[in-house]
């Protein structure tokens, strides 16, 4: 017998050690993927790609405030200069390098590969005459001055044709030669990091570096009173991680301190306290280990949820100590364990329903809680008795417990009042039903409203893209990706002409497919032929053919240079532009992302999706509206959460029906639980909370967790009178659960906060309503 106990203990120890090894080697993450779909559609993949690796995800916006415009400009210049050579940044812009000057050399060198006007016709006598005449016309325009220096090299104006494809759109304001906010009071910079948006470590390093370099610049220039503000997806990711990291330990501490305090007060024994914490710690460890083994990565939010789990998992040890201390271990196993087991099962069903969610964060929370609760119960049942031995003594319930027990006999008298309040709450919620829910995924974001406002202000100041509309293309290799982008571009050109869209960007503009470049290059005549044609074409032109030797030389150079490759763009910002729109996929193949701009006069800057889909039908290119995808994603999660919650609730109902075998008892337990949910929603709404997905999940958890307490009251209805020790154990268990979930209510992470404010008060209300509705009148079942 003793050796069996020892074996059980050793087995437990081994499991805990194995669990610790798994946890030690786990990868923890606090990034957006918590919210991103686990089985994305093609459109959602584009969304995920943009959020994790897209160009926009790598942009950091910087704003310098304080002092005067000249001082800000000077700091902005030096900051850019110091950052420019750091390989951590792909580019740092502050408006100093005016527009495209830096890239002009590359565009000029490859203009015959890049210009959409290059065709055999253009280099015939008539084509040359028309092109040169057009360029001369252009010289009379203000814009022509920019091209005058290239006249002898580029009389057909190919550089203009290439540059005209760029659409710089709106430009930021400029003060003292550098970018400034619209009101001119802040200097603005835009940095693109080499680290991807999903690389939170990389983003954190960049942000720390930015702040350090800014401080260095200030001290080098002996300036003070200036501040640097940084915003952008990377900043938000880093901040979210910091918030979650800080909260995991804080919430755990708050929850732990509360629970330890309560247990010490009840047990009055450090030894019992330590033993009582064991199942809970085992559960928390097992939860992380199982999640790590199943998902590979453990989300920070999941670990944060642990503080609620410990409040729930500690219950089983409380039942064991408080109840078995009086009647002995074997009796406890016979009398109370079935009720505890039923409670464990209802909790497991509630958490288990979440496993099927397509919202990865939610399914992970479900798995974590499920494995944690089951482990805690198993450890309580099989390991704790071994460790505790026969020698433990929980102080007998104090007189107040007996008084409450006596008072409970009259609890049923409150049923009319509860019914009335339930009607009031129900009526109120029905009347408010339109404003109960927040239909926005941003409700789950850790970004505060002030930060979001600052971000959109800086975005507007910098005229930075928000890239809502995209066309995406998947292809087997780079060449076919570029050819597909060119085909989609031809469709989009038509839409631009019709005014359906304002414009679009394409990687093929800066890196045409080899096929297209070859077609352009074969249009270029050899030197002799070109010279002859030029002489004939320009016989009456103000621009004499004899002055165009640089042109003839450049055309020959282009012919012999051949096709331009991606590597030829290295060192210019164009490389970045191409890479941001044309990228290899981890799983093989290439992806093209072509951002679209709405037409200038479009209401709300919208693009009509059906016209885009029709135009692109059959081309393999996919139109994606990221905002619509986000909204659809959230409402998909929401619909699914409703279904899962109902399924979880139904499973609990079936389990209770099978176990209780009494319609009246089942109805009473369910009534108590449903009214608890109703009451909590009404209270939250009264407090001004707009409900979202996680509140809904919280309601499921109220049923799953609250049923444990209702079941103990139900025992009395089943003919087993409630005694003071049992009542004490229920009260203490409810209190620890309320503390555990209540700690989450302090969180600034909306996912955790929502569960906390729902389940914390829910546990207490479930206890109270069960006392009134489930506990039979007079404390025992009437027919027995």
């Amino acid at each position: 017998m003793k050796s069996l106990k020892l074996r059980i203990f050793l087995l437990w120890l081994l499991c805990m050690l194995a669990g610790s090894v798994v946890v030690w080697n786990s990868r923890f993450s606090a990034d957006m993927s918590f919210f991103l779909p686990s089985k994305p559609s093609a459109e959602q993949r584009a969304l995920v790609g943009q959020l994790q690796d897209g160009t926009v995800s790598r942009l950091l916006m910087l704003s310098i405030e304080g002092a005067d415009a000249a001082q800000r400009a000077s700091v902005s210049r030096e900051l850019r200069q110091r950052l420019a050579n750091n390989p951590a940044y792909v580019s740092v812009q502050n408006g100093e390098a005016g527009g495209l000057e830096g890239e002009r050399d590359v565009l000029l060198r490859y203009r015959y590969q890049l210009s959409p006007s290059v065709s055999p016709d253009r280099f015939t006598e008539a084509g040359l005459r028309a092109a040169v005449a057009n360029t001369i016309d252009l010289l009379s325009s203000p814009a022509g001055l920019m091209f005058k220096p290239y006249l002898a090299r580029d009389p057909t104006g190919e550089l203009l044709e290439v540059i005209a494809q760029f659409n710089p759109g709106a430009q930021p304001e400029t003060r003292a030669g550098v970018w400034a906010s619209r009101n001119g009071e802040r200097a603005m910079l835009l940095a693109q990091t080499r680290a991807q948006g999903s690389d939170t470590d990389g983003q954190a390093a960049v942000i720390a570096d930015l702040q350090q370099v800014f401080a260095q610049v200030l001290s080098a220039q002996h300036r003070s009173g200036m501040t640097l503000q940084i915003s952008g997806p990377g900043k938000f990711a880093v901040q979210a991680r910091e918030t979650i990291q800080a909260e995991v330990s804080r919430l755990f501490f708050v929850s732990m301190a509360g629970i330890v305090g309560v247990l010490l007060w009840v047990y009055r024994s450090p030894r019992l306290l330590a033993l009582g914490l064991l199942p809970m710690l085992s559960g928390a460890l097992a939860g992380v280990a199982v999640v790590s083994l199943v998902h590979g990565t453990v989300f920070g939010i999941t670990v944060g949820f642990g503080s609620a789990l410990i409040g729930e998992a500690v219950d089983y040890a409380i039942y064991f100590f408080v109840q078995s201390g009086r009647m002995g271990l074997d009796n406890w196993r016979r009398v109370f364990w079935p009720t505890v087991r039923l409670g464990v099962l209802t909790s497991a069903l509630g958490f288990g329903a979440l496993l099927f969610s397509g919202f990865p964060g939610l399914s992970q929370l479900g798995l974590y809680a499920l494995s944690g609760v089951v482990t805690a119960a198993l450890v309580t049942r099989f390991v704790l008795p071994t460790l505790a031995g026969a020698q433990f003594c929980v102080p007998a319930p104090r007189p107040w417990v007996h008084r409450v027990l006596t008072g409970l006999v009259h609890a049923h008298r409150l049923r009319a009042l509860v019914g009335l309040l339930a009607l009031l709450a129900g009526g109120y919620l029905w009347q408010q039903r339109a404003s109960l829910w927040d239909a926005n995924l941003s409700a789950l974001s850790t970004v505060s409203q002030a930060e979001a406002a600052a971000d959109s202000r800086m975005r507007a100041d910098l005229a930075a893209p928000d890239a809502r509309y995209l066309v995406t293309i998947g292809a087997a290799d780079q060449e076919s990706a570029l050819q597909a982008a060119e085909r989609a571009g031809a469709q989009l050109d038509r839409l631009v002409e019709q005014g359906v869209i304002g414009g679009y960007d394409s990687p093929a503009r800066f890196l045409p497919s080899t096929l297209l470049q070859t077609r352009r290059l074969v249009s270029l005549p050899v030197a002799d032929v070109l010279q002859t044609r030029l002489r004939a074409a320009l016989i009456d032109s103000p621009l004499g053919a004899d002055k165009l030797a640089p042109f003839v030389a450049d055309v020959q150079a282009a012919r012999s240079a051949g096709v331009m490759r991606r590597a030829d763009l290295n060192g210019s910002a164009l490389a970045l532009v191409v890479d941001s729109m044309l990228m290899p996929v981890h799983s093989g193949g290439w992806t093209v992302m072509m951002p679209l701009r709405p037409a200038a006069n479009a209401p709300d800057a919208d693009i009509p999706p059906e016209k885009l889909r029709t135009a692109l039908a059959g081309s393999g290119a996919l139109f994606v509206d990221l905002k619509a995808e986000f909204d659809a994603l959230y409402s998909g999660y929401m619909d699914q959460a409703v279904r899962l919650s109902l399924a979880g609730f139904l499973a609990i109902v079936v389990l209770l029906a099978l176990t209780l075998r009494s319609r009246a008892r089942l109805l009473r337990v369910l009534l108590a639980l449903v009214l608890t949910v109703l009451g909590v929603i009404a209270l939250l709404h009264l407090a001004g909370v707009r409900l979202h997905l996680l509140h809904l999940v919280g309601m499921l958890l109220i049923v799953a967790v609250g049923s444990n307490y209702a079941l103990f009251f139900d025992r009395a209805a089943g003919g087993e009178p409630l005694d003071a020790a049992t009542l004490l154990s229920i009260a203490v268990a409810t209190l620890t659960t309320a503390i555990g979930f209540g700690a989450l209510a302090l969180s600034s992470v909306p996912v955790l906060q929502a569960i906390g404010v729902t389940v914390g008060p829910g546990a207490v209300l479930a206890l109270l309503l069960s006392a009134v509705l489930v506990y039979p009148a007079g404390g025992r079942c009437p027919q027995k």
């Binding site: 001369i136 016309d137 010289l139 009379s140 203000p142 002898a152 430009q171 030669g177 103000p542």
Partner: protein
């Protein structure tokens, strides 16, 4: 030949300057009185590489003090609007909008006219040294850039006018290329 023509105009300016003490302050005050309106313009560009000058013509619209529109009709339609800090160009259905302060050539070629038309001495003196010859009914204002970004492009701007009406503008570029604009107001009052 044509360059000499500009020089003669300049000399004419000198010749008339002796008569009265007409100073920049007075000219600017007079220009401020200009109510704006429409004018026809003809612009000739002399470019070394071309055997003959390129000519364009169209209309100019001025709404003091911030908005200047230059609508070229020949040889090819093109619209240029300078409104406050924003310069927009439209040609061949292509639109380009740039912020003035980031473009020295825009300051050099466009803002100088507007500042002259509006009599904004402060803006002019920020970028140029001013020199005035002649009298109120026949004056010549010369702008020599002091801002390095502008003087890299431009040697000098010469503006002729009568009272508050600008009649002729010449841009002399650093490479010797030159642009002359003659302005004829359209009486629309």
């Amino acid at each position: 030949m044509i360059r000499r023509f500009g020089l003669i105009l300049l000399l004419l300016g000198f010749a008339t300057s002796a008569q009265a003490a007409f100073d920049i302050e007075q000219l600017m005050a007079e220009l401020t009185q200009h109510k704006g309106g429409r004018a026809r313009f003809v612009e000739k560009r002399h470019i070394a590489l071309l055997d003959k000058p390129v000519q364009s013509s169209g209309e100019m619209l001025y709404n003091p003090p911030d908005r200047l529109e230059k609508r070229t009709l020949l040889p090819k339609a093109e619209t240029m609007v300078l409104d406050k800090d924003q310069l927009s160009l439209e040609r061949d259905k292509r639109k380009l909008s740039i912020n003035l302060s980031s473009r020295p050539e825009a300051i050099a070629f466009v803002d100088s006219i507007r500042s002259t038309l509006s009599g904004n001495r402060r803006t002019l003196e920020r970028n140029y040294t001013l020199n005035l010859q002649g009298e109120s009914k026949q004056w010549v204002l010369t702008l020599v850039p002091i801002e390095p970004a502008i003087s890299a492009l431009l040697q000098r701007i010469t503006i002729n006018g009568s009272k508050s009406q600008v009649r002729y503008i010449e841009y002399l570029q650093v490479d010797g290329d030159r642009s002359e604009i003659t302005i004829e107001p359209i009486d629309n009052q």
